[in-house]
Amino acid sequence: MAAINWKKISAVGIILLILILVPMFVNLGTGIMNQLVTLFMYILLAQSWNLLGGYTGQINLGIAAFFGCSVMVTHFTWVAGMPIIISILAGSLSTIIFAVIIGIPTLRLKGMYFAVGTLALTQALQVIMQNIFTRSISAPGEYVHSYNIVTRYYLGLGMVALVMVAIYFVRWSKLGLAFTSIRDDEQAAQVTGVNTFKYKVISLLISAFIAGLAGGLYAYFRLYFYYTSDIFGHSWTFSSIMAVIVGGSGTLLGPVLGAIFLVILGYIFSLTLGQANLIVFGFLFIIVMLFMPQGLMGGINLFRAWLLQRKKPNTLEKNPGI
């Protein structure tokens, strides 16, 4: 690990302090607070996808399955009278069951099997849930009575901070090196002695746990949801993939940037375009995939290199690797 970068740490600290202090003293209004909690949910989902897709190189098309499963489990344990933290943990742990069911057989094989298997898992869970729960699910009255958006906000903020720190340390540990080696060249990693299957499963389990945290936040945030098929809907998968790809996959801050971008854009587009905003997102996703494979983070890096080149023209020539 590189030497401690005080500039970065103080920047992160200041941002965190602002995020903690502002809702304490300023009343932002329910609308903005709702958007912020949604943003935290998207950041969690995007980080979850990024750990598996960006660092380990395994495409997961079924994050909605993990998310929805955690929403259901969290909701029912919470309504049964457990404290929320324990319910969220139970929900996140329940996702691990599905991660094992789908991961152990499919991650052994290369190619499409994992992606298609997770997609199939989502479809299957949608059908099962539609048949079991035909009506909307809602929490009892006293939960609605004691609803307070500020606690949701702090819970979400805490989860995001924890997950980001955890991913930062995982990324620069032996585990993270194994993940990136699998992404870069699986065969070479295997030859060098990395047990690729084991590390892929570990990555999937951590990723599923984070998606489960997002689901727990959703269950705490929304006391009722109309159709159970909604929480297993593919839009959750699509949004998290989109946030990662737009922000820059394989980076720590990329998913955060992408999620912010997604929430702001979603807010603007859904006001002006109505139903068509989802199509715009689809086109944006494909355009970014085609022309900006590094995403926003890649753009920032290019901009930085350009600035550096303007300031000190000689440094780049000596070190073309930047």
Binding site: G57, I59, G111, A120, I279, M289
Partner: protein
């Protein structure tokens, strides 16, 4: 006994349709090593094209097949030109596969939402004068539309087999499948071969859409469940094993249909998922591979 026969025949009919759905998916996967997650959505699009041709021009749905297939062929060419050919710049096959997965997932999103925007999320189907007619075979009632669909699926598989084995173009396709670099060195225009096979694959989706819109119904967003069946069929047949798509589809169809004797018919997709998982656990090369 009659019940069992009925279930068996229904399974064979729907299984042939699964085979047809899998043909296009398998062609793109085998030839170009791209995964087209949007194949199901293209099938739904084909169904809508057929629906609108029938509704606006009052053609018989089966006579509209050439038109539907032509329209979908053009869509396939566009798909290759706009999305797949830029992916060829990635040197490694795994990378292309991953990128194509993500990109076509975006296409699913666009197609589904565009269809919902234009044509509402209602399900549509083409009803013909003979649509409800049935024929009795050994005491089992089979609908005409289902039988025609089965015939079309087997015909499409046979024609595709003949194209791949008997024509010059088929030779090019097989060469590009084996080793694109070597094929290109020996004078095969790989880009053009890819382009046309992508067109054929999507026009097969148009044919499948026609069969689905006549004997079942199409719903925007229903594409992924057809894709799931296609993928289970491909895994059952063994990747790239084009000749066994229809038999593998029939096995899947009969298994699913037989399961309705014991459990709620709504749980067809979980059963396909279970079959998929069992196959890749115990025989990942597919049922029909000799390896």
């Amino acid at each position: 006994m009659g019940n069992v026969l009925q279930v068996l025949f229904v399974g064979i009919i729907i299984g042939a349709l699964y085979g047809l759905v899998a043909l296009g998916f398998g062609l793109i996967m085998g030839v170009m090593k791209f995964i087209n997650i949007a194949q199901g959505s293209f099938i739904i699009l084909g169904g809508f094209v057929c629906y609108w041709i029938v509704t606006l021009w009052h053609l018989d749905p089966y006579f509209s097949i050439p038109l539907t297939m032509l329209a979908m062929f053009i869509v396939g060419l566009l798909l290759y030109r706009l999305l797949f050919s830029p992916l060829l710049k990635y040197p490694k096959a795994e990378m292309r596969l991953d990128k194509s997965l993500l990109m076509t997932f975006g296409v699913v999103w666009i197609l589904d939402n565009t269809e919902i925007l234009f044509w509402t999320p209602n399900s549509r189907s083409v009803i013909t004068s003979y649509g409800y007619g049935t024929v009795k075979v050994l005491g089992a009632a089979l609908s005409y539309t289902g039988l025609i669909g089965m015939g079309l699926a087997i015909l499409a598989a046979a024609v595709l087999h003949l194209i791949l084995t008997r024509t010059y173009f088929g030779k090019h396709v097989r060469a590009a499948t084996e080793d694109a670099g070597a094929a290109s060195l020996s004078g095969v225009n790989v880009q053009r071969t890819y382009l046309i096979s992508c067109g054929i694959a999507i026009s097969l989706a148009g044919l499948a859409g026609t069969v689905i819109v006549t004997s079942y119904s199409v719903t925007p967003g229903g594409g992924l469940s057809w894709l799931l069946m296609a993928m289970a069929t491909v895994v059952l047949a063994g990747a790239g094993n084009m000749n066994y798509m229809i038999p593998a589809g029939i096995i899947l169809g009969v298994l699913q249909s037989a399961s309705t004797l014991f459990i709620n018919p709504a749980y067809q997709q979980p059963i396909a998922l279970i079959i998929f998982l069992l196959i890749i656990m115990f025989r990942p090369q597919g049922l029909f591979s000799k390896r």
